[in-house]
């Protein structure tokens, strides 16, 4: 037998073993390869991408060390919610309400809209301590206090950008420059996928669309297989998911069988393993067609669950997306990125925050309760937060006729995290008397990324991708794991 015949025979064997591999969902034959590759891939996931024949780039991979968390749900509150109306209690602001901001504070600070002499502006909301941990939250939050002991609040977040698009890009890619892979892409690149018939990285959105656009979930210079798949808000969640009108699933199957036969036939002759991957892509697409509508069908949830979230099947709401996020992680999706762009309260910040919490507070809380109850919270990281915070100064006219809002503020803001190895029931960091600057335990965006990657089992300095001669990483050349935040 000569070599050419051998290769054909081997290729033939490979495709006839399809019945064995076809349900693994991760690329034809890649189960076998994945185990062989796992060590190499763990050491350098890029090797799997460089050599497309070697394995599906989405094959599950082991991180650098035993992870605490396996997946992430990121509840991105885009537009930047006001920390001063929810978490960062500043009696000092009440004391100086209406007075100009001390000039010393403003040195070197850039403001997007307001003038530097804008008056300090106290919140109308009352604060109280909640849970055994005594976390401070305002009365605007009605539901979240129930899970105060399960979350890790960071009041000392800092970021580099003060405009929405760049700040969102920064929060999601670790760089203000475009073209870098998003957080979800890095995680998917590092860990691969466990979803059998769904994308590894799913993007949901409610309220307005995002300022940063698809770069927020783009894969940058990573192969586009790692980019987030943005689910539609209505109709089919995934573009082109439904068969053409008039074509039944059975007929599609018939065509797919024929297509598979023809592609296998080509594989025998051309010997290119890409053809095998193609065959598998079509098979996975077919499975996706079945599973995605089922996934989206919230009416299969119990009334109790729907009530818990305040979800209403058929609508595009934050509550539905929270419930959907749980259903996605249950099905092995690695990274669920949820956007709710509605927090840009340059005017009427009190009413605005109240209105948005009405949309989101119950569902956010429900997600934590639901994940916990299902045993998923232990290895799922939940992140809540926006791209920056809001100023302690008022935005609007001095006579109060107009706005009573707050401007963009990057020097100090609050986010919280839960599950997946975060230490529950603590608050990290403090701001100064007026909530302008971080006074203690600053946590930069890069530190947050480093910490989350740490819990996913990665040394953030080693989750790299070689591009333009340089090893790039999510945390650029920065990032320190926030040890205090770890359980």
């Amino acid at each position: 037998m000569n070599h050419e015949n051998e290769i054909k025979t081997e290729a033939k064997k490979m495709v006839t073993r399809r019945h064995f591999f076809k349900d693994c969902g991760i690329g034809l034959g890649s189960m076998a390869l994945a185990s062989l590759l796992s060590e190499a891939a763990a050491a350098n996931p890029q090797s799997a991408i460089r050599n497309p024949q070697s394995a599906s780039p989405l094959a599950p991979k082991k991180p650098h060390f035993a992870p605490k968390a396996k997946r992430v749900i990121y509840l991105f509150q885009a537009g930047a919610p006001s920390q001063l109306e929810m978490f960062d209690y500043k009696p000092g602001l009440a004391k100086y309400n209406g007075k100009p901001c001390p000039p010393g504070l403003l040195k070197g600070q850039t403001l997007a809209f307001i003038k530097p002499d804008a008056a300090l502006f106290a919140t109308e909301f009352k604060f109280a301590k909640h849970g055994q941990c005594g976390a401070e939250m305002s009365e605007a939050l009605v539901h979240l206090p129930k899970v105060a002991d399960q979350i890790t609040i960071i009041k000392s977040m800092m970021t580099d950008a003060i405009n929405h698009a760049p700040a969102q890009i920064f929060m999601q890619t670790g760089s203000i420059q475009f073209g870098r892979p998003s957080f979800g892409s890095w995680v998917t690149y590092g860990l691969g996928s466990e979803a059998r018939d769904l994308p590894a990285f799913v993007v949901l959105s409610s309220a307005g669309g995002t300022s940063g656009g698809s770069s927020l979930w783009g894969s940058g210079f990573l192969p586009s297989v790692y980019q987030g798949v943005a689910f539609r808000r209505s109709g089919d969640p995934i573009l082109s998911l439904a068969n053409p009108r008039g074509v039944t699933r059975e007929m599609q199957r018939d065509s797919l069988d024929a297509l598979k036969d023809l592609n296998e036939h080509l594989l025998e002759r051309a010997g290119d393993a890409e053809i095998a991957t193609r065959i598998n892509s079509f098979e996975m697409a077919y499975r996706m067609q079945e599973s995605a509508p089922d996934l989206m069908d919230l009416s299969k949830e119990t009334t109790a669950t729907l009530d818990l979230y305040g979800a209403e099947p058929g609508k595009n709401t934050y509550a539905n997306n929270c419930l959907l996020a749980r259903r996605l992680v249950e099905r092995g999706v690695r990274f669920v990125q949820l956007y709710h762009e509605a927090w840009d309260h340059h005017g009427q910040v009190h009413n605005g925050v109240k209105a948005q919490l009405k949309e989101t507070d119950q569902a956010t809380t429900a997600l934590l309760l639901d994940l916990k109850q299902r045993g998923l919270l232990d290895d799922t990281i939940v992140i809540w937060g926006g791209e920056f915070g809001r100023t302690p100064m008022v935005q609007g006219e001095p006579d109060g006729s107009n706005a009573l809002g707050r401007d963009h503020h990057n020097k100090a803001f609050t986010i919280w995290l839960a599950g997946g190895g975060f230490k529950p029931g603590i608050t990290i960091g403090e701001t100064d008397e007026l909530g302008f600057n971080v006074a203690q335990d600053p946590v930069h965006v890069h530190d947050l990324h480093a910490t989350i990657l740490h819990l996913l089992g990665f040394d953030h300095t080693k989750l790299n991708y070689r591009f333009q001669g340089r090893d790039f990483r999510l945390t650029d050349v920065h990032g320190v794991v926030v040890d205090k935040a770890l359980a």
Partner: protein, 1140 residues
């Protein structure tokens, strides 16, 4: 051989990737293994180790880190380190500190440090040691040494090579003990070369012709035909648009539309005309700086305005101004130099010899653009009107006609001077009193007693405006126009009679003159002018003419902040405010103090078509120097629910106190003659009374035009009328010119500074323009962008020719000869065939002259490239859009280069791969087979459109909006720019390079197949394989519609029954007939589909309704639907979306 192929592939994949067989022991079965250790080559073997493992600390950036040892230069690496130590002692590894440290038994002492993740392999240690033993010879980095034409290497199999490329490839294969693959069969070859050169597969007729043509040069004829096809320019343009980050929107939060397609069409045309690549480079980088630049040369410079532009409210303009310049530097470096300059933005490059300072020296070539860091929502300055070729033709025609008509008019009038004199004498008794220009007049109010406002349509009826004006705006009759809160007393005025405004009354003209400014739509980029006589009673006489709410809104000092536009007399000065949002987004100017209690004539112009001087004011015929209080307008300013008011607006506080007369509103900017006439208040009889020699220019013109309008003989009047029609037609045409953002240079260059950590607000040392020392040691550095561009394509630059041919190679072979097409620096992968790369580069740069043994050409000479010396217009005729003829230009000839590549035996090899070869060379670096890879996004769609007969082939024009799921933009982005008005008709079926490219939400059909969002320059091809692609191909309307139309073609053009039809369609898509198995599988599928749809005609109808194009009504729906499903299957084949 019992191990599975996959395992074998795996083992290969884990082998060192850089380049196979670079070292003796890798080429297990090559000839090179016999003769002991080969000399270690610095560039091939050593620099990659030093760069990857050592330079981060011991490289160009080491001084900044206070690290003493540097390993990036010979002098530094061999220098004494103190204590008698030297890192490298040539010839003596034992004495070399480097060897000691990399082999140190104590982990704490061993280099690189354990925690750096950069441990050396044993092989790397051995190589370093052996290199030092052999004398530690340094070489300059290969890419920074100008290429010299290498000798074509001899080969054993002399019959295989078809040109020099093959000698280089075969020589290597012979060294490796490998054979090239046989030539691909003709059909496959035709498909390959057609896709490569035109982006579209061959038609079945093309196939038949080629298969029939037995002449020895049949293939060459095909290549020439493809290169001459206009499709070639489109194919080449698409790739260039990726590199040039072309997009139809601005990116960032608002992501508004922009109009850069005139540049895209320039690129298509340049490729089709085969513009020499040096000229192509120079014109795009610096066409504006060429002596007397042509329109096309200016259009070319849009290349460096294709970057994103941020218009988000509240941003810091200085921050983004830096980003735009950085983008230009990085793009230029990537595209023309193959360098990752961006690293040096924040600090000295870690791997390559570029300092932080040198980055900003390059930056200084690109920072002197009169731009604003805060971009407009749509088109940001600087821009030019960029008429299409057709519009240029129309303009020339109109200008010719104007000249002709003017001559005729002058000749006729010259013969009738006596008529004019007689008419002038008779004027006092004629009853004619006044005359003003009425071209583009929208409305007037004479403010004579009892006069109503006159809209232009009514003015036309009048005696003194004997021609129609632009279409008048209709007045909403919610409240009739008229005086409010009183009515004025008539007063004498310069023109006769005016009106006395008492500070309470005003005239409400209703919903008229609702001008607007938006830089998106040509008809919203309004030009308008208001002409009025005014007599201010006090220094704060208030509103003269306004278009804004009459409510007392907020104020800034003593001016209202209302949205809209308005002329005010305030603080003794005329203020002209055009306001979207006061302060942030408005155009506000004021004159010097103006005397009160006397009459003045005022013309205020807002010119939306002018990027810099949008507001102009003329007082008594003289242009005023204005104080600009704010000169930034980004958005629409119209308050659509506001009225035009004379003497009012913005509430009671601003009612005019004084006298006003003769308000005229024009929807164009008056020309100088019109301005002179407008400023002349004198009545016709009073002008007539002045002796002819003593009349002012305004008086003379006014008299003459009044005669031409109302007194001249019919023949003369007709010519005069015609002249004005032509001028209006010209204005109208010019308003339709697309706008294009281009490069311009400030008269005085902006001072550049080093930006510490790359931050806009942290400037350091001032720097002057110059090239990095590693690339040029010349005393005289390029003085500006033009000289920089000329240097790029001069023989003194080692990189551009190499980088360019490498990218073209990648287009055809899927990977560059140097795979890191974007990085020719120390961290880039070495070329697999360095000599071939150099040969191609020199061949390309020097062309045929070089080929005639012109090796003496001094690569260091700073000769000025021909392209600009010759005025850049001889080879390339910008206005000629005919498809290309091969220009026999000897240098930088792109078509000649591509032809050389596709004519080579290397290119023509079959892509089928044997197991042995797959093991040896999984990535095909040795080129022992043809390329096989998935088509690019645009080719997959374009092919489906072509084979289904849907493709509308039309070169250029505005971008089109093909199918896209409704509401997608709204789902994805927060912006008011989310309306996607899907095209009707041909816009649905144009080639994909014309698809509207929205940065924040890419067209899903493009995105899913790895198209880039064009947020920034991308030159490296990526290809993935995902289920989303399968869904798109199976279910997206684009492909379902194409399948329906392909089915129709099958049924209508093939008469030989199902088998024949399927075979035809299979061949139309894959360029080959199906074999028996394929034939049977397709037929089986078709029969199943037929059985299904025949019983379900309504399902068939549903399928046939997908997409806008309707099928031929004569065809049986069930049959058509069944064929459509099988056609879809064919379009989904791996082979259909693959080039092999």
């Amino acid at each position: 051989m019992k191990r599975s192929i996959r395992l074998a592939v795996l083992l290969i994949s884990l082998a060192p990737a850089a380049f196979l067989a670079a070292l003796p022991e890798v080429s297990a079965d090559g000839a090179a293994t016999q003769s002991g250790p080969e000399p270690v080559d610095f560039n091939r073997d050593i620099r990659p180790i030093l760069s990857d493992k050592c330079f981060v600390c011991h490289g160009p950036d080491a001084p900044a880190k206070k690290i003493k040892l540097r390993l990036d230069s010979e002098a530094a690496a061999t220098a004494a380190l103190g204590g008698g130590r030297r890192a490298i002692v040539p010839g003596e590894p034992d004495k070399s500190e480097l060897v000691k440290r990399v082999t140190h038994p104590d982990e704490a002492m061993r280099m690189p440090p354990a925690d750096s993740g950069r441990a050396l392999t044993k092989r790397e240690v051995d190589l370093l040691t052996e290199w030092i033993r052999q004398g530690a010879k340094w070489r300059a980095h290969w890419a920074f040494v100008a290429p010299v034409r290498p000798e074509t290497p001899p080969v054993k199999n002399a019959t295989w090579p078809k040109n020099a490329i093959d000698n280089f490839v075969l020589a290597r294969l012979e060294r490796e003990g490998l054979q090239p693959a046989p030539e691909a069969d003709r059909a496959r070859l035709l498909r390959r070369v057609s896709l490569d050169l035109t982006g579209l597969p061959p038609s079945t007729e093309d196939l038949d012709d080629f298969l029939r043509d037995k002449s020895p040069n049949a293939y060459e004829k095909v290549v020439d035909r493809l290169l001459a096809s206009p499709r070639y320019g489109e194919r080449m343009a698409f790739k260039w648009m990726d590199a040039a980050r072309y997009s139809d929107t601005n990116g960032y939060q608002n992501d508004g539309d922009r109009y850069m397609w005139r540049w895209r069409d320039w690129v298509i045309n340049a490729f089709n005309r085969n513009m020499p690549y040096d000229q192509f480079t120079i014109e795009q980088l610096a066409g504006d700086l060429a002596p007397n630049p042509t329109l096309d040369q200016r259009i070319a410079t849009a290349f460096n305005r294709n970057h994103r532009q941020n218009s988000e409210d509240g941003l810091i303009p200085e921050e983004y101004a830096v980003e735009y310049v950085v983008d230009r530097v990085d793009t230029t470096a990537t595209v023309f130099l193959g360098l990752t300059m961006g690293c040096a933005r924040c600090h000295t490059h870690k791997y390559d010899p570029f300092t932080h300072k040198e980055y900003y020296q390059l930056y200084a070539y690109f920072n002197s653009v009169p731009e604003d860091g805060r971009g407009s929502y749509h088109t940001s300055q600087p821009w030019i009107p960029a008429p299409t070729v057709e519009q240029q033709r129309q303009l020339r025609q109109i200008e010719t006609d104007i000249a002709k008509t003017t001559r005729k008019l002058n000749a006729l009038a010259a013969g009738r001077r006596n008529d004019l004199r007689r008419w002038t004498r008779e004027l006092p008794s004629s009853g004619l009193r006044q005359w003003f220009p009425a071209d583009n007049l929208l409305l007037r109010h004479s403010l004579d007693a009892d006069a109503e406002i006159e809209l232009a349509a009514r003015i036309e009826q009048r005696e003194f405006a004997g021609y129609e004006s632009a279409a008048p705006q209709t007045m909403t009759k919610q409240q009739p126009a008229g005086f409010r809160e009183g009515s004025p007393a008539g007063v004498s005025s310069p023109t006769g009679q005016g009106a006395d405004f008492d500070g309470r009354m005003f005239y409400d003209a209703g919903r008229v003159a609702d001008f607007d400014y938006s830089d998106r739509l040509v008809d919203h980029r309004d030009q308008f002018a208001i002409s009025v006589w005014f007599y201010p009673e006090t220094e704060n006489s208030g509103a003269i003419v306004t278009h804004m709410q009459d409510s007392p809104g907020e104020k800034d000092g003593s001016l209202p902040k209302n949205r809209g536009y308005g002329l005010f007399f305030n603080d003794g000065k005329v203020h002209w405010n055009v306001v979207s949002v006061w302060a942030d987004d408005s155009w506000r100017v004021e004159t010097a103090p103006v005397a009160i209690k006397q009459w003045h004539h005022l013309v205020a112009i807002f010119d939306g078509r002018e990027p810099y001087e949008r507001a102009r004011i003329y007082l008594n015929g003289r242009k005023q120097n204005l104080k600009v209080n704010n000169g930034r307008i980004y958005r629409t300013f119209s308050d659509r629910s506001a009225n035009l008011r004379i003497g009012g607006g913005a509430g009671p506080e601003y009612r005019f106190k004084g006298k006003l007369d003769e308000v005229r509103v024009y929807n164009a900017a008056p020309d100088p003659e019109q301005l002179a006439m407008l400023a002349c208040a004198d009545s016709l009889p009073s002008i007539a009374a002045i002796p002819a020699g003593k009349r002012t220019e305004g008086q003379r013109l006014k008299l003459l035009n009044a005669w031409l309008d109302a007194g001249a003989p019919t023949a003369i009047h007709q010519q005069w009328k015609r002249l004005h029609e032509l001028k209006r037609a010209k204005t109208k045409l010019e308003r339709e010119f697309p706008l294009l953002m281009v490069m311009e240079e400030l008269p005085e260059p902006r001072q550049a500074h080093i930006l510490r950590r790359g931050a806009y607000d942290s400037p350091g040392e001032a720097v002057t323009r110059g090239l990095p020392a590693a690339l040029s040691q010349a005393n005289k550095q390029p003085a500006n962008r033009l000289e920089f561009a000329q240097w790029l394509v001069s023989p003194a630059n080692p990189l551009t020719a190499r980088v360019t041919v490498n990218r073209f190679w990648q287009m055809f072979f899927g990977t560059g000869l140097a795979p890191t097409v974007e990085d020719f620096g120390a961290q880039g992968e070495l070329p697999s065939h360095p000599e071939l790369l150099d040969w191609l580069a020199v061949e390309f740069r020097d062309g045929a002259t070089g080929r005639r043994g012109d090796k003496a050409k001094n690569p260091q000479s700073e000769s000025v490239p021909r392209a600009v010396a010759s005025g850049a217009s001889q080879v390339y005729s910008p206005t000629d859009t005919r498809s290309a003829v091969l220009t026999r230009n000897p240098q930088w000839d792109v078509k000649a280069l591509l032809k050389t590549i596709v004519m080579s035996a290397t290119y023509r090899q079959s892509s089928d791969v044997t197991r042995r070869l797959l093991q040896r060379d999984p990535d095909n670096r040795l080129l022992a087979r043809g390329a096989r890879f998935r088509l690019q996004a645009e080719m997959i769609r374009d092919q489906a459109l072509l084979v289904s007969g849907l493709l509308v082939e039309k070169l250029g024009g505005p971008s089109v909006k093909p199918y896209q799921p409704a509401g997608l933009l709204k789902d994805m982005v927060f912006s008011n720019m989310t309306n996607y008005a899907q095209d009707k008709g041909e816009g649905l079926w144009r080639r994909s390079l014309y698809t509207f490219w929205k940065r924040t939400v890419l067209n899903p059909g493009m995105q899913v197949f790895d198209a880039t969002a064009r947020e920034q320059c991308v030159v490296r091809d990526t290809r993935t394989n995902t289920p989303l692609q399968a869904l798109n191909l199976m279910n997206d309307v684009t492909y379902v519609e194409a399948a329906r139309m392909l089915a129709e073609r099958m049924l209508l053009t093939v008469r030989t029954g199902p088998r024949g039809r399927l075979a035809w369609a299979f061949r139309a898509v894959t360029s080959r007939p199906p074999d028996d198995m394929e034939q049977e599988t397709l037929l089986e599928n078709l029969n199943a589909q037929l059985a299904y749809f025949r019983g379900r005609p309504r399902e068939a109808e549903k399928l046939l309704m997908i997409g806008e194009k309707r099928n031929d009504a004569r065809l049986n729906p069930a049959e058509l639907a069944a064929y459509a499903m099988t056609a879809s299957l064919i379009l989904n084949l791996d082979e259909a979306i693959t080039k092999q």
